[in-house]
């Protein structure tokens, strides 16, 4: 077997193992719930039968292993169980399943919104950071390079909500050109949706762009010292030709890795930004569910975030492996 295929397969195997472990960790969270939890969810009026029925629905009468198998096979079919909200004030002997919504129905429209926002950000942020990175490598140590570098260093250490509110202050309040509430829904037309998502996407772009841009610049500058670039310079190639034609192709691997890594970071940034702009995505849903301790929804959101994060990191690693010339052309 080609060594690259082997390394990739091993990495995929680790990825699957991580996914399994993460699902176990998120599932077992419910094991640590305090004993009076059912009472808190079902309200003061819950009868012993109600509590028993609720415990049965959660599967607390079965072993942890069979509960995990039930849960994960449901998740694989897209069934995350039903929400805990709206279960209070019951007098009958049911656990109130009929009165609460399916978690999957809650999540589906919001997941699309979140993916839309993340996708929009990626479309803006990736080309912009590549452009900034390449140009600042080209005009290294110029005023332009210093300005880009100082700006990116400062935005990298700002909290997301600070960036968000500064943008709101400028574009929403002092010079009101963009809407500050991103309340989109399925019926919002595309142009309107783009306009309302503009500020959240700008915030996320500012948050993730710095790291990608700096990596691009560093990857290219690292290569500039290598002999084949010296050769290209001596042969009379212009500065931009050297960087774009000779250095860039060899810099793709670290750049691609850092892009995938930052898209994974987007997953976390999206939670705070959605709350600031009241954007109806799963980040906001998750925070609301944490406050109301709606565990099935929290678990489902966490699983979606974690899987996205793991898969993007896996892609980053695999790109790193398959573009590594030492592995591609073994001696």
């Amino acid at each position: 077997m080609h060594p690259v295929t082997k390394t990739v397969l091993v990495r995929l195997g680790y990825g699957l193992l991580t996914l399994f472990l993460v699902s176990v960790v998120i599932f077992s969270a419910i094991e640590f719930l305090p004993g009076d939890f059912t009472q808190a969810i079902l309200g003061q009026l819950a009868t012993p039968e109600t509590i028993a029925a609720f415990r049965k629905e959660l599967g607390l009468d079965q072993s942890a292993v069979s509960r995990y198998i039930n849960w994960i096979s449901g998740v694989l079919r897209g069934d995350f169980g039903s929400s805990f909200s709206g279960r209070g004030q019951l007098t009958s002997g049911t656990s109130g399943v009929g009165r609460s919504r399916e978690v999957a129905d809650l999540i589906a429209p919001r997941l699309w919104n979140t993916l839309f926002l993340a996708g929009l950000t990626a479309i803006i942020a990736v080309p912009l950071s590549l452009f900034l990175g390449i140009t600042s490598a080209l005009y290294r140590n110029s005023i332009y390079d210093r300005a880009v570098s100082v700006t990116s260093l400062t935005t990298i250490s700002f909290p997301e909500f600070f960036v968000a509110y500064v943008l709101i202050l400028i574009f929403g309040s002092l010079w009101p050109v963009l809407p500050t509430l991103a309340n989109v829904d399925a019926s919002t037309p595309m142009a309107e949706r783009l306009l309302r998502s503009a500020l959240p996407a700008m915030t996320l772009t500012l948050v993730i762009i710095a790291h990608m841009m700096r990596m691009t610049r560093a990857a290219i500058i690292n290569l500039l010292a290598s002999p084949y670039i010296q050769m290209a310079i001596l042969s009379g190639a212009s500065k931009s030709e050297v960087i774009i034609k000779h250095a860039l192709p060899n810099a793709w691997a670290p750049i691609a890795t850092v892009i995938a890594f930052n898209l994974a970071y987007l997953v976390v940034g999206v939670v705070v930004v959605e709350v600031v702009f009241v954007y109806p995505g799963i980040g906001q849903l998750m925070v609301d569910s944490v406050t109301s301790r709606n565990i099935p929804v929290v678990q489902a959101c966490a699983l979606i975030f974690a899987v996205t994060y793991i898969v993007l990191n896996l892609i980053a690693d695999i790109i790193g492996i398959i573009t590594n010339p030492r592995l591609l052309h073994p001696k």
Binding site: A29, T154, S157, P159, T180, V287, C301, A306
Partner: protein, 306 residues
Amino acid sequence: MKKGSENYSAVAETGAVLEKRSTWQRFVLDLKKSPISARFGLIVIAIYIFIAVFAPWLAPYGESQVFPAPYEPWSKEFIFGTDQIGRDILSRMIYGARNTVGIAVATTALAFFIGGVLGLAAAIAKGWVDQLLSRLVDALMAIPSLIFALVLLSIFGTNIINLIIIIAILDSTRVFRLTRAVSLNVVVMDFVEAARLRGEGLAWIMRREILPNILPPLIAEFGLRFCFVFLTIAALSFLGVGIQPPTADWGSMVRENASLIQFAQYDIKAGLTPLLPAAAIALLTVAVNFVVDWFLHKTSGIKDEQ
């Protein structure tokens, strides 16, 4: 020693008492050579510490003292106005320095204790202990920490003790990785082997043989981890699941006063009010980053690329 000096003797030079510089003298010397960004960072950090320590003397009013007028504009009486239930914002900012920074420092210290001890233990013990801990850490690190913190907070409920323990444990995974990686290089050294043959216990080897040799990267990491923890706690408080009211905290203050921002057109000062605590967070993070940057350059001798 001048070359042409007549009564030069090599014996006298080597025999002369070498005066060792004290830690403070070395610090002052380093400071004289430090770049402007590091000096700026150190001054900012010193100011924050001063405010945090002397908060009760500096604040004009009490932490949760309520005045009858909510959303009071900036004035002589209330320098930054009052918040949504009429508490003085300046006083809450000053107390917030104590709460937000204090909790972040405590969390980072706990994370370093857990991660550092386990990382050292894994590096020294090797074998199945190392495997078990490393795989556990891999699994924990695979979940984004803000998301994992949200899951755990929803299970255990939101209070300050839970917050500190949860973030510390999640963050100790990063400390574990670093400690393990740097101590693996030291563990193979002869002097460690000598200590082991001498019959020293695990705790001695950790503390006296390895720790002094891995300190510089750990101190730099402490600064970076602090920034990360500080931002995570601020984000959680901002989301309403971190530090709970009435405790003054910068993250929740941003959220509480966020609606003032829409009045910026009519009164720019009112619009700036919610940004003050956010700016306080940002300024401290930038300052710590500057100092860590300088420290890393100083201890590792990393040079700028080209």
